[in-house]
Symmetry: C2
Amino acid sequence: MRRWNGWGDDTIAMTLTEGAKAMLASQLGAGHRAPDALRDDLLSQVPASRLQGAHPLIQTDASTRFSMAFGESYGDWIRKRFGALTPVPDGVAFVESGEHVRTLLDLAQQHDWVVIPFAGGTSVSGHLDCPLSERPVLSINLTRLCQLLHLDTKSQLATLGAGTPGPQIEALLRAQGYTLGHFPQSFEYSTVGGWVVTRSSGQQSLRYGRIEQLFAGGRMETPAGRLDIPTLPAASAGPDLRELVLGSEGRFGILTEACVRVSPLPAHESFHALFLPDWDAAEAAVRELVQRRLPLSMMRLSNPVETRTQLAMAGHANMIGWLERYLALRGCRDEKCLLMLGVSSDAPTARHALKQARLTLKAHGAAYIGTAMGSKWAAHRFKGPYLRNTLWEQGYSVDTIETAVDWPRVKPLMLAMEQTARDVFAPYGERVHAFSHLSHVYPQGSSIYAQFVWANVPGGFPAHVERWQKLKAAVAKTIADHGGTVSHQHGVGRDHAAQLHREKGPLGMATLAELCRHFDPKKIMNPGKLLQDGDPWAP
Amino acid sequence: MRRWNGWGDDTIAMTLTEGAKAMLASQLGAGHRAPDALRDDLLSQVPASRLQGAHPLIQTDASTRFSMAFGESYGDWIRKRFGALTPVPDGVAFVESGEHVRTLLDLAQQHDWVVIPFAGGTSVSGHLDCPLSERPVLSINLTRLCQLLHLDTKSQLATLGAGTPGPQIEALLRAQGYTLGHFPQSFEYSTVGGWVVTRSSGQQSLRYGRIEQLFAGGRMETPAGRLDIPTLPAASAGPDLRELVLGSEGRFGILTEACVRVSPLPAHESFHALFLPDWDAAEAAVRELVQRRLPLSMMRLSNPVETRTQLAMAGHANMIGWLERYLALRGCRDEKCLLMLGVSSDAPTARHALKQARLTLKAHGAAYIGTAMGSKWAAHRFKGPYLRNTLWEQGYSVDTIETAVDWPRVKPLMLAMEQTARDVFAPYGERVHAFSHLSHVYPQGSSIYAQFVWANVPGGFPAHVERWQKLKAAVAKTIADHGGTVSHQHGVGRDHAAQLHREKGPLGMATLAELCRHFDPKKIMNPGKLLQDGDPWAP
């Protein structure tokens, strides 16, 4: 069963190796473990619903409503762990068709309800926060819109219910020899509709593209009416309305169907590990590979701190020792960087890509160590978030902040994000273990995915939320100061909305607000997300 | 010097081979040649300017104003050839900076002028039509914004003045070892700003991408203020405002700077010709190649009628005779289709791509004939439009209509477009020679580029415009009925605006109108383009 106050299925638990525990203790000191709040205690505090009997589709029991009140951000996490109950929706409708959505949006406009769309519940940016509102709040749950409605193999297009989660999409497609190839770390629970409206990116985007490239068209019910986006291979027919659905974050309406571009299952797929002597060599190598446009499916480059962290956490101390001695002989020592390389294609293309990639990497001093580590990574690719449970139980917090920026600013911004985190914790006399990798590389630049681990302290929710808010705000400012995007793959939500004007500018913000007013004249849709309430650009 | 009433430089003239003349005569009968109107006669009819002395930047002489009144559509063509003068702008400003544009837009809002942006003047969709308006009309000419402002080789980004034309862009970039790789047939005159705001596509888009993929960011002056789009490799920061600049067709504002993604010049570039036995085999082969995502830079597939037409027009009857006998032995006879294949990459990738492509094509019955025909095509790739001059002088008209659609509808729509044209001319007892090629292929579908040649008749402008309008309207309806886009690469302009609602739907049209109102509250920008005046969706 899915955990209510932690990541993932409760039959799955990750363990920390002794090496990892030792590293945490030496880097951060001992963690503090506070008791968890109990779900039943929280449920007993859920106020009465203001939507009782409003419509047969709307459920109003406390347990169902409570389940729709949280996403998976660190803020959500500590609210659940410490029992800091925030508003919950007044009702939940498990819609089974676009017509259901239409009916509910019409009702919501008529009766002045707030509407929050919900599907996988995996947002780490506060997209699902329920506002404290004088208006009743309705959560529209899309998880029953989970069918493969049509597969056109000639055009390689699959039409899916917007609430279809990753594993079901892949199972339905694989049965017919196809894959979507979209693998965000939230894959187990996140849905195609969620990917589209938050502009998600999967681990093999180098081959399959971001969701922007995969989303061919679909249907969105907005308060102002239905928006149908036809599938077209390309068009010069004015502004592309698809791009208004992408990233709309529940502000313009609710996506009910998504038509996505699929591919035949690749004949060959493999993941390879290499080490490079230091960051500058590694970044140059990765940049050269992506700018050559070699048909690879993934490049994931860890910085030296992340590389050391991963090796410490891997266990098998003896084997890792041998590996490090071998790498040292090859010139990869303390500053070495781990590069994971994926290839997913037909066999001749895979041979060509791998051969050329290895030649290029060799010229940058890379040591190739084969596919064992890569295969292990692929087998556990969705397990990363489970570590958060384990770390919490050991008394540690972990959070992630990511961005993307053009190449000249990648290294300065990566280092500045890590330094900013240390500067946030220093006044408390506390430390943070900060490390980063490039998860998605482009000819123009790269994403930067930074992770932060710190030891929990006594003080409960207030102490934790204070540190987290300071960390988020300070790193977001550093990102904006360096010209990075508010988010490369997690969306804006409530948590990044305050910084969005740095990226969009005043006229851009006004444009987004105008679009909100256009699609949602009565302001019922997901308030405070994407655009903040109360700021000059509120719709 | 650029021709005032025909395509291109007046030192360049194409000739028709005897074979081509014979083909035209047998297909269409003799052409009719009417005398051309004289430029001076037209100039003498240009009414007085209503912007005399309005601002030092604004020129008001008849000759300059007349030059900004036309694009290159067939409608523009016959207006010039027959001397059917339509409104001309009251003034022309050759701006030299974004500040000039800002000043003029502010003035235009203050004094209620209409503004039409102009650069290469190559629109074939009526983007440059000057309306008959009670308000003075100002043409803002961007051709002096033609600098390479910045080249960042690490991010492979070039910032250009929006009015920089194709040859200058390539010359500036090639001097530093780079290329943009954007080669529309209008390349000689069209500009980067024009490409962006009409969503243009170049002949090698398979390698370099459409302008949507090349345009990384830039600056647009709108009546409501300046919109700065930062360059980012990718972002999940809400709806992508770049996509509102792309395809804005002068309705939201004027792009002054464009930052585009460039590439190092390829070490290898070659163009290869192959023939396939018939359309079904050829389409299947091309689809398989593009769905395999082989790193090719171009596929251009002519249908049987176009293939026969090209061979008849090639001259060298003896050589073509030998070629056809050879092809017949290889199974490519009357229904054969010519495929032009381009590769632009590093040498090992080119070897890989060519080898795999030829293996796949062979399995579909292709006969490979080497690079001679491909090299000739590449050398004359921008000469196609000059044939229009030659045909006109022989008494024939030619026009082009293009679209894109998903694979299952490519063949039915291609045949239907050609048949529709024949049906339009049949009631006149006249014939049309219709043929098509796929110029841009995608895993999901393909563009269809149809050309129509017919013999001119006596009756001057009214006879010609009647046939053309019937042809355009009927083929546009056929396209919409088959789910094709209003345009794959030429934009909407005035000529396709009536059909746009079939693609965008009522809420989509209302959204575009709302965006017009938002960026241009006083309705000064390029009226009637993209959205028609007077229809239910007019802003």
